[in-house]
Symmetry: C2
DNA sequence: ACCTGAACACCGTTCAAGT
DNA sequence: ACCTGAACACCGTTCAAGT
């Protein structure tokens, strides 16, 4: 009834990948340990060998999503790096509308979580902000970017050209950074 | 084992109120139709007379939460009205940390949903923004305000003085509105 | 008209048992 | 070492039955 991924032994990597696929295909609420196991062609409890419980599975998904963000080259001007990051997040929300919300519900702790944040902080420092101000601005920017992306993914801004809206918001905020 | 609310007949109002209390006390994930019924001192299916299903229950909670927002007097200067609204949202997130996230996950459709939005739009028009610009700014502001409030409720900004941070962000954005 | 209990098709997770 | 099936304590919801 379902596609069963049969490539090699069961690994955490494949568990997460399949969980992501199931969530996007069936809807996030439908993702269960049992359905995931069925999809992997394995007993429910076999999944627990690669994931300590469902919470750990969700943490793994968050980490995987963050790992999909491409970090801009340091050589680019700071404005372009900020825009790059913002668009990466927006693209992620587009690609994974069902699971994107996880990023705003769960605290990201792993290494991938900080990569994007560090890149944003570097860009803001390069824009001339001192350390504390850069951190504050990063929190403001990430809130806006994540919030917009989520709003689009959940349909809160239906009927609105979010592409355009998002670019304008970025424009405004970048100007705000420049005048800090 | 649990407090049973015994005041009068079962009404939608009391169902929602109790659901809110249960969610905040036991955690949002623990809120179930069965536990809610137990709490109301009634059979599970009796709850279904006041709520068509769990989805409808959650929609009801969203509506109730939005109804808790106090709208500022029109006589206040526009900056103060915006600040008022922002603080109301932040206070709501503080009061209902467990259920606040619902507001960002579900589309609000009822009347209470638009009250706050209309008040913000009026303030922005009074600030001199033309109609389209006011709508765009309202979306930006609401995203920031809701995003910050959620981040605080979920602990994303742990160790940070969100009170201070929030005021600074508002300050920045208000200046942005003034210079539009 | 309003409430009930049993039943159905699901969950996450523990644990003893199999290879 | 790795996987399994049965079991436990839960879900949301349908439906026939009670008052």
């Amino acid at each position: 009834m379902r596609t069963v991924y049969t490539s090699g032994p069961l690994k955490r990597e494949r568990v997460l990948e399949t969980a992501l696929a199931v969530a996007e295909r069936e809807g996030f609420e439908q993702l269960s340990m049992r359905l995931l196991a069925r999809e992997l062609g394995v007993s429910t409890m076999a999944v627990y060998r690669h994931v300590t419980n469902k919470d750990d599975l969700l943490d793994g998904l968050v980490e995987r999503l963050l790992g999909e963000l491409e970090i801009p080259e340091q050589s680019l001007p700071w404005e372009q790096r900020l825009r790059w990051l913002a668009r990466e997040v927006r693209a992620l929300a587009h690609r994974r509308p069902e699971v994107f919300g996880l990023l705003l519900r769960r605290r990201a702790v792993g290494e991938d979580a900080t990569r994007a944040r560090q890149a944003a902080l570097r860009a803001l420092r390069d824009a001339g902000l001192e350390s504390k101000a850069a951190e504050r601005m990063e929190r403001l920017l990430s809130t806006v970017v994540m919030g917009f992306a989520l709003s689009e993914a959940t349909g809160r801004f239906e009927g609105i050209d979010v592409e355009d809206e998002f670019e304008r918001a970025l424009e405004l905020l970048t100007r705000l950074v420049a005048t800090q």
